[in-house]
C-alpha cells in the first residue's frame, strides 16, 4: 500500500449505496460543490475496483445486500486502509451508529442529509485524509532514511536520542569518543537533520509508525 507522497488525483469521494437514485443525487450534489465522486453499487464492487492510491474519503450506506456498510468498514480495516469513513444511513439505529463509531468511523449521518452537513463532513474527511497521507509519506521517508544506516550507526543513534553525551556513548559501546563523533555526524547527515531535537522527533515518529503486523483489530 506504499505510495509516493503526492498524487496528481484530487481528493475523491468514494460513494457506496445500493440505491441508484441516491447515488445519482448525492453524486450530483458533490459535483455541484466541485468535488470529484466515484460511485459504486455494492461493497464488493468497491473493494475490487477502487484504486487505493487516490486520496479522498468513503461515504457509505449501512443497509445493503451482500456485504453491508459495517462489514465493509471491517474489511478495509483489515487491509490497513487510511480512507476516513462517513456513514450515510436510512436507519436511525443507535446501536449501529455506536458500533460504527467505535470501529473508527469519522462520522455517522442520517438520511436525508442536508448539503452543508454532508459537505462539511466530506471536507473534514479530506483534510484528515490529507494529513494522514502526509504523515504516512513522512514516516515512509524516515523509514527509508533509517534503512540507509549501518547497524552501528543505528546503535549510536539510539543512544544519541536518549540524550547521552558522546563521551558517555563511547563508554557504553566501548569505543573511542572520536569514533562516536564520526558516527554521529554520519547519522545526522543520512537522516538529513540539523539538530538532535529533530533527530529525536524523527525517531519517535518512526517508532510510532504502525506496521500491518502490529495493528490490533478494533471490533
Amino acid at each position: 500500500m506504499n505510495s509516493p507522497t503526492c498524487h496528481p488525483h484530487s481528493p475523491t469521494v468514494f460513494l457506496v449505496d445500493d440505491e441508484e437514485a441516491v447515488r445519482k443525487a448525492v453524486s450530483r450534489l458533490l459535483r455541484s460543490a466541485g468535488i470529484a465522486v466515484a460511485a459504486f453499487a455494492s461493497a464488493a464492487e468497491f473493494l475490487t475496483t477502487f484504486d487505493p492510491a487516490i486520496p479522498g474519503c468513503l461515504v457509505l450506506d449501512v443497509a445493503m445486500p451482500g456485504l453491508n456498510g459495517l462489514e465493509l468498514q471491517q474489511a478495509l480495516a483489515e487491509r490497513g486502509g487510511a480512507l476516513p469513513i462517513i456513514f450515510l444511513s436510512g436507519h436511525a439505529d443507535v446501536p449501529i451508529s455506536v458500533d460504527a463509531m467505535k470501529a473508527g468511523a469519522m462520522d455517522f449521518l442520517t438520511k436525508p442529509a442536508r448539503d452543508e452537513v454532508l459537505l462539511a463532513a466530506v471536507r473534514t474527511a479530506f483534510e484528515k485524509n490529507r494529513v494522514a497521507r502526509i504523515a504516512r509519506a513522512e514516516t515512509h521517508e524516515i523509514l527509508t532514511r533509517l534503512a540507509t544506516l549501518t547497524p552501528r550507526e543505528r546503535e549510536v543513534m539510539e543512544h544519541v536520542v536518549t540524550g547521552r553525551l558522546n563521551k558517555q556513548i563511547a563508554g557504553d559501546l566501548g569505543t573511542a569518543e572520536q569514533t562516536i563523533k564520526i558516527h554521529r555526524a554520519r547519522v545526522m547527515e543520512k537522516m538529513k537533520v540539523l539538530s538532535v531535537a529533530e533527530l529525536v522527533r524523527l525517531a519517535d515518529q518512526a517508532r510510532l509508525a504502525p506496521t500491518p503486523a502490529h495493528r490490533t483489530k478494533v471490533s
Binding site: 440505491e19 437514485a21 441516491v22 443525487a25 448525492v26 445493503m64 436510512g90 436511525a92 442529509a113
Partner: protein, 605 residues
C-alpha cells in the same frame, strides 16, 4: 203388556236412532257414503219390523198378503244398501256381481208388485193364530209361489258377493271389518232366509222375525262405523293437539307455515306467518301480494329462486328481507317443496318461513369484529416494520433533497448547465412519485374499512408486498427469490387482507432465519395454479423450523415465539384465508426450514 210391541218398538227405535245419527254424519260430510248407506239399511230394518208387526196383527189373509207385499220394499232397499255398503265402505267385491244382485232383486220387486198377492205366495188361503211371546199372532197358510226363487237367488248371490268381498278384506288384513260386516251379513242373511223358507213351507210355526236378524247386521255395521267415528274423533283431537303444539312451536320460533296452490294462485299462511310478512289476518294472499311484502331489491332474486325451484326438482331455499319489521327490514329464511302434476307442471308448494334477523345481525357483527381484529393484527405488524418503512421513505427523500440542493448550487454558478438541471428536476419528480407509492401502499394496509371483493392478480399482490418490505429484508440480510407462474387466473378477494397474509408469512420467515448465517437466509415465494379452480401460494424459508407441537400449534391464538409478540397474526391469517374460501397450512421442509402455503379459489365469471 204386549212384549211384541215392546220388542219391535225397541228394535225400530234403535234402528231409527242409528239411522238418524249416521244420516247427520253424512249430511256434514257428503263423501261419507258408507254412513248414508248404513242409514238406509237401518231405516229399512225399521220398516221391515213395521211390516212384520203389520203381518202379525193382520186379521185377514188379504191384509197379510198386502203386508207381505210391502215388506219387499224395505227388503229391496236393504239389499241394495248392503251391497252398496260393501262396495263403498269395504271397497271390496266384484262390481259385476253387485250389479247382477241388484238387478235381480229389482226384478223380483217388480214381479212382487205385478203378481198377486205377492212374490212369496201364489195364494194365501187362511190365517192361523200361533202363540208367540205370550200373544197370538197371524201366520199364513197358503201355496208358496215359485217366483219366490228369484228373490232367494238374489239373496244367495248377495251372500256370494259378500263372501268374496270378505275374503278380499281378510287378505288385506282388515280382519275386524271382515268379521263384523262380511261375516255378519252372511250369517244373518243366511239365518233370515232359512227362517223365511221354513215358515213359508209351514215347517216352522213362527212369524217372520227378519228384523231381528237384520238388527244384528245393523249393530255390526253401527259398531264398525262408530268405531270410525270414534277414531275420527280421536284423530280430530290428536290433530287439534298437534296443531296446538305446532302453533306453540311456530310462535316460539317465529316460523310461519304456508301452502301455495299454484294453479289458482292462492297462498294459505298460518297466523304467525301472516304476522311475519306483515299481512293482515284476513286478507287474501296471492303471489303478487306476497312479492309486495318483500324488500324491493330482493324481489328479483326471490322470483329467480322460485323459477329455479320449479325447474330443478322443486326444492326452494331463499333468504330475503321483508318490509315489515321494526325498525329495519326483517330477514327471513324460507324453505319449500313443490308438488308437481303428472305432466310436470307445478301444483302446490309448501314451505316454512323463519325470522332470522337476529342471526343476520349477529353475523354482521361478527364480520365487523373479524375485520377489526384483522386490522389490529395488520397495524401491529406494520408497527414492527416501522423502522424499515421509514427507511423506505428516506431513500427517495434523500435523493430529492440532494438533487434539489445540487440544483441550487448549479444555478448559483455563472453558466448553469440547463440540461443537467432538467434531468435533476425529472429525477426529483420521479422520486417523489416513488415516495408517494410507498405511502399509498402503506396507507392501503393501515386502512380499516369494509372488506372489498375485487378481481385480483396474485402475482401483483406478491410483488407489491415484496416492494414494501424490501428494506426490511435487506436490513436482515434476507435474499428473496420469486417463482411466479406466468398466466395465473384471477382470484377474487380483498387486496388489503391478502397482502396482510403475505406480509405476515414473509416477516415470520425472516424471523425464523434470524440466527442463520448471513449468506444462508433464503426466502422463496412461489405462485402456481392448483387444479382448475384454485391457485396456491407458498412462502419458504430455511430457518429454524416450526415449533414443537406440530404445525397446527403455530396457528393457535396467542401462541408466539417472539418475546414481545401478540401471537394473533397467524390465527387472523387463517380466518382471512378461510373467509376467502381457501386453506392455510404449514409444514417443515424435507431438508430444513418451513413452507407456509395457502390456496385460494379462482374467480369464475
Amino acid at each position: 203388556m204386549s212384549w211384541i210391541t215392546v220388542i219391535w218398538s225397541i228394535v225400530a227405535s234403535a234402528c231409527l236412532t242409528l239411522a238418524a245419527l249416521h244420516f247427520v254424519v253424512w249430511w256434514h260430510q257428503r263423501k261419507a257414503w258408507g254412513n248414508l248407506l248404513f242409514s238406509l239399511t237401518a231405516v229399512a230394518t225399521a220398516m221391515l219390523g213395521a211390516c212384520e208387526l203389520w203381518m202379525m196383527r193382520a186379521e185377514t189373509p188379504a191384509e197379510f198378503g198386502l203386508a207381505l207385499r210391502w215388506i219387499h220394499v224395505p227388503g229391496w232397499v236393504m239389499l241394495l244398501a248392503l251391497v252398496g255398503f260393501v262396495r263403498v265402505h269395504l271397497q271390496a267385491g266384484r262390481p259385476w256381481l253387485a250389479w247382477t244382485v241388484c238387478g235381480m232383486r229389482t226384478v223380483s220387486l217388480i214381479l212382487n208388485f205385478i203378481l198377486s198377492p205377492n212374490l212369496n205366495y201364489r195364494e194365501i188361503t187362511g190365517l192361523r193364530q200361533v202363540p208367540f211371546l205370550g200373544e197370538a199372532v197371524s201366520v199364513a197358510i197358503g201355496t208358496p209361489s215359485p217366483w219366490m226363487l228369484i228373490g232367494q237367488i238374489s239373496l244367495v248371490l248377495m251372500v256370494v258377493f259378500v263372501v268374496d268381498a270378505t275374503l278380499t278384506v281378510w287378505r288385506c288384513g282388515r280382519r275386524r271389518q271382515a268379521i263384523l260386516i262380511g261375516f255378519g251379513i252372511v250369517f244373518f242373511t243366511g239365518v233370515g232366509t232359512v227362517q223365511v223358507i221354513l215358515t213359508m213351507w209351514g215347517i216352522l210355526q213362527t212369524p217372520i222375525t227378519l228384523s231381528w236378524f237384520y238388527l244384528g247386521i245393523v249393530v255390526g255395521m253401527a259398531y264398525e262405523l262408530s268405531d270410525e267415528v270414534l277414531r275420527a274423533t280421536k284423530l280430530t283431537q290428536d290433530l287439534r293437539e298437534s296443531e296446538q303444539r305446532m302453533d306453540l312451536a311456530t310462535e316460539a320460533s317465529g316460523c310461519g307455515f304456508w301452502v301455495w296452490e299454484i294453479p289458482g294462485d292462492e297462498i294459505w299462511i298460518s297466523d304467525p306467518g301472516r304476522k311475519l310478512y306483515g299481512v293482515s289476518p284476513t286478507e287474501r294472499v296471492d303471489f303478487a301480494r306476497f312479492t309486495g311484502t318483500l324488500y324491493p331489491p330482493d324481489i328479483e332474486p326471490v322470483r329467480a329462486a322460485v323459477a329455479d325451484a320449479f325447474a330443478n326438482g322443486g326444492a326452494y331455499f331463499c333468504e330475503h328481507r321483508v318490509l315489515a319489521g321494526d325498525p329495519s327490514p326483517r330477514w327471513i329464511a324460507v324453505r319449500g317443496k313443490t308438488e308437481f302434476s303428472a305432466n310436470g307442471t307445478p301444483l302446490r308448494m309448501r314451505g316454512v318461513s323463519i325470522d332470522i334477523s337476529a342471526r343476520k345481525q349477529a353475523e354482521s357483527e361478527l364480520h365487523e369484529r373479524r375485520g377489526e381484529l384483522a386490522h389490529l393484527a395488520r397495524v401491529t405488524m406494520l408497527g414492527e416494520l416501522s423502522a424499515s418503512l421509514a427507511h423506505e421513505l428516506n431513500q427517495p427523500l434523500t435523493a430529492i433533497l440532494s438533487n434539489a440542493q445540487a440544483a441550487q448550487r448549479f444555478l448559483a454558478m455563472d453558466d448553469p448547465d440547463l440540461t443537467e438541471l432538467r434531468e435533476i428536476l425529472a429525477d426529483i419528480v420521479s422520486e417523489d412519485e416513488h415516495a408517494g407509492e410507498v405511502i399509498r401502499r402503506l396507507r392501503l394496509l393501515l386502512r380499516k374499512g369494509e372488506v372489498q371483493q375485487q378481481e385480483l392478480d396474485a402475482n401483483e399482490i406478491v410483488l407489491d408486498v415484496l416492494k414494501l418490505v424490501r428494506s426490511d429484508l435487506t436490513y436482515h440480510g434476507v435474499i428473496v427469490t420469486t417463482r411466479l407462474a406466468p398466466k395465473l387466473v384471477a382470484i377474487r378477494g380483498d387486496r388489503v387482507q391478502l397482502q396482510q397474509v403475505l406480509l405476515n408469512l414473509i416477516m415470520n420467515a425472516c424471523d425464523a432465519m434470524a440466527s442463520n448465517d448471513k449468506d444462508d437466509r433464503h426466502l422463496t415465494v412461489v405462485t402456481r395454479a392448483a387444479g382448475d379452480a384454485a391457485l396456491r401460494i407458498e412462502v419458504r424459508d430455511v430457518g429454524r423450523g416450526l415449533p414443537e407441537g406440530g404445525p397446527e400449534r403455530a396457528f393457535e391464538r396467542f401462541f408466539t415465539t417472539k418475546p414481545h409478540g401478540l401471537g394473533l397474526g397467524l390465527s387472523v391469517c387463517r380466518t382471512i384465508i378461510t373467509a376467502h374460501g381457501g386453506t392455510l397450512g404449514a409444514a417443515n421442509n424435507a431438508h430444513r426450514g418451513t413452507t407456509f402455503h395457502f390456496t385460494l379459489p379462482t374467480w369464475n365469471r
